[in-house]
């Protein structure tokens, strides 16, 4: 499903957080969003999901402005995993994933066998099926992240918006999550911190000071000059002899 943003902006009071961002995500594409801390990545993701009011500009979902769609319509198409998810309710892992079915259910279409199967699939996809009966409160940060991703998968979205999904995950789960996301037949927009992982995206958009300063294939976007000016690191491109992939090594000269 195609997602478009036209001169998108949002301000916290008088301080602009995101300004004049226009981008287009093609169906099935994986777009990585990178940028230093406070560059507006999370806000841009929330704008794309239609979760912030008082925005300027428009977001188009398959050509239709988000503002013309109901929350329910949007939730059937876009699933969001935010960085922080906390609850004081004594929910079980399975309860949390079942929340993902919310946009598909109504009084006339209650939770049924098909929903149960979708929830089980989602739990299996993130390797949490054996913990379905555990309490959310007892999970580690990484386990919570995977459960939230399972919840998003249970929404059966066409577009998945992820805010630093590999945070809190150990290296094995980071890589398996990125592979899972890459293999999903959906459009993905995700903020990433690890620039080596960002190399795996179809395209990268670079945020700096609330503006999008570059957007294109990872090889073009992650030039050493740009890494120096925006991320303030000196990067060296290395080649992995095993598969000829590009890897970065970073050095920081300033304190």
């Amino acid at each position: 499903m195609r997602l478009e943003a036209k001169s998108l902006g949002w301000a916290a009071g008088s301080r602009p957080i995101v300004e004049e961002v226009s981008l287009e995500v093609a169906p099935g594409e994986t777009l990585g969003l990178i940028g230093p801390n406070g560059s507006g990545k999370s806000t841009l993701l929330r704008l794309l999901a239609g979760l912030l009011t008082r925005r300027t500009g428009t977001v188009l979902l398959e050509g239709a402005p988000l503002t013309t769609l109901s929350r329910r319509d949007i939730a059937q198409k876009i699933a969001v995993v935010e960085q922080i998810a906390e609850t004081s309710e004594a929910l079980l892992v399975r309860d949390v994933v079942e929340l993902g079915r919310t946009p598909w259910l109504s009084a006339l279409a209650p939770f049924g066998a098909q929903d149960r199967a979708i929830v089980t699939d989602a739990l299996e996809a993130v390797g949490m099926a054996q913990m379905a009966g555990h309490r959310w409160a007892t999970l580690s940060g990484g386990e919570r992240q995977r459960v939230q991703i399972a919840r998003a998968l249970a929404q059966r979205p066409r577009i998945l918006i992820l805010d630093e999904p590999t945070n809190h995950l150990d290296i094995h789960h980071q890589l398996s999550l990125l592979r899972l996301v890459a293999n999903l037949p959906v459009t993905v927009v995700m903020a990433l911190h690890d620039l080596n992982q960002a190399m795996g995206c179809d395209r990268l958009a670079v945020m700096d000071g609330g503006r999008m300063v570059a957007c294109g294939p990872p090889d073009e976007v992650l030039s050493t000059a740009r890494l120096a000016s925006i991320f303030r690191v000196q990067a060296t491109r290395l080649r992995d002899p095993a598969d000829n992939a590009t890897v970065f090594r970073f050095l920081c000269h300033e304190v």
Partner: protein, 346 residues
């Protein structure tokens, strides 16, 4: 491994739950009618019911008949409606503001309803039963708006909301006291003070006819939005991303709470702790999912207030203890328990 999860409610077990709930409620109501200073045998109660419902024409002592049909039954039914309404209000507020301590009493809604009702009583705006309920509704809405805005202005956190609720309660309680001191005569003041503590004396059928539909509508609204309340578990933004029309759901549910609280306060005064303690107790029993928490809390609230009313009539022979005092005597230790439990969790 889905069998690890909580047992699913199938159609048949669903029916069983409803039947059990109805049986418990009927038993409690019967208890409320039978137990009292003059214990009345079940046979007499049955005869009075038969006479009034089917015109059976059985011979019953008219005094007994009066106690049962005009005094204890409406009183017990009103207790049930109030208990259910207050417990539902607690469920909704705890879900929406995501604070374990939220209930209409703590968030100032009850105080606002009390102030509104007293304003109408003393200043004579409108007058009559609906006038008092209307005043209570306006007061409750106003109080919730003040508390919500104050909490928002203070940063919108969970702690801020409780603090704003306390400030709001104090403000509206002070307003009530001010109105009483300024305008009421001694007789009126005593009556209002007693009523504010929660009181089911002098309940008439008209009160039941007003309260029962309000609770029923509130219950249906809560049940309708049960899934939406689940979606608020991870906060407002998460609820929105799950397809919940946040503003509309909030308005509907807060409206239901305000209506229920205002009606109950205008009829029986402000009864604390039911809305706070019952939902938490029920979370232990049926879990946090609202499809079960809503009916369980409504039932438990109804039964709890019926029992509290029986206690209020029986504690001191020949005298009625305000029911708010009874619920607070049970509720305060329950409240303490929640605090201790929460500390262990965090």
């Amino acid at each position: 491994m889905s069998d690890l999860a909580a047992p699913r409610v199938t159609g048949r077990t669903h029916g069983l739950w409803v039947a059990q709930g109805a049986a418990i409620l009927i038993l409690a109501v019967l208890g409320g009618v039978v137990i009292g200073e003059t214990p009345l045998p079940l046979a007499t109660v049955a005869a009075v019911f038969a006479n009034n419902i089917w015109d059976a024409g059985l011979i019953v002592d008219p005094i007994d008949a009066g106690i049962i049909w005009s005094y204890r039954l409406p009183r017990t039914l009103l207790a049930a409606a109030c208990g259910a309404g207050l417990a539902l209000s607690g469920v909704v507020l705890q879900a929406l503001v995501r604070n374990a301590l939220a209930d209409p009493y703590l968030l100032g809604v009850s105080a606002g309803a009390g102030a509104g009702a007293v304003a109408v009583t003393i200043l004579g705006v409108g007058g009559g039963l609906l006038g008092i309920s209307g005043g209570a509704f306006v007061g409750a809405t106003l109080a919730f708006a003040v508390v919500a805005m104050l909490a928002r202005a203070a940063g919108g956190g969970s702690a801020q909301l409780v603090l704003a609720g306390i400030a709001g309660s104090q403000l509206f309680n002070a307003l009530t006291s001010f109105l009483i001191a300024k305008s009421a005569n001694a007789e009126q003041a005593r009556g209002i003070m007693f009523w504010l503590l929660g009181n089911l004396s002098g309940v008439r059928w008209l009160d039941v006819v007003l309260a029962a539909p309000v609770t029923a509508v509130g219950f249906l609204i809560c049940l309708w939005f049960a899934r939406a309340m689940d979606a608020f578990s991870f906060g407002v933004s998460s609820a929105a991303s799950l397809g919940i029309a946040v503003r509309r759901v909030q308005i509907m549910l807060i409206g239901a709470v305000t209506l229920m609280t205002a009606t109950m306060v205008s009829l029986v005064g402000s009864i604390g702790f039911v809305g706070l303690v019952i939902p938490h107790a029920m979370r232990f029993v049926v879990g946090p999912r609202h499809a079960r928490l809503v009916p369980a809390s409504a039932l438990a609230g109804a039964v709890f207030l019926i029992v509290a009313d029986i206690a209020s009539r029986m504690l001191i022979p020949g005298q009625v203890v305000p029911i708010g005092v009874v619920t607070a005597l049970v509720g305060a230790p329950g409240f303490a328990l929640i605090l201790v439990r929460n500390r262990r969790w965090s």
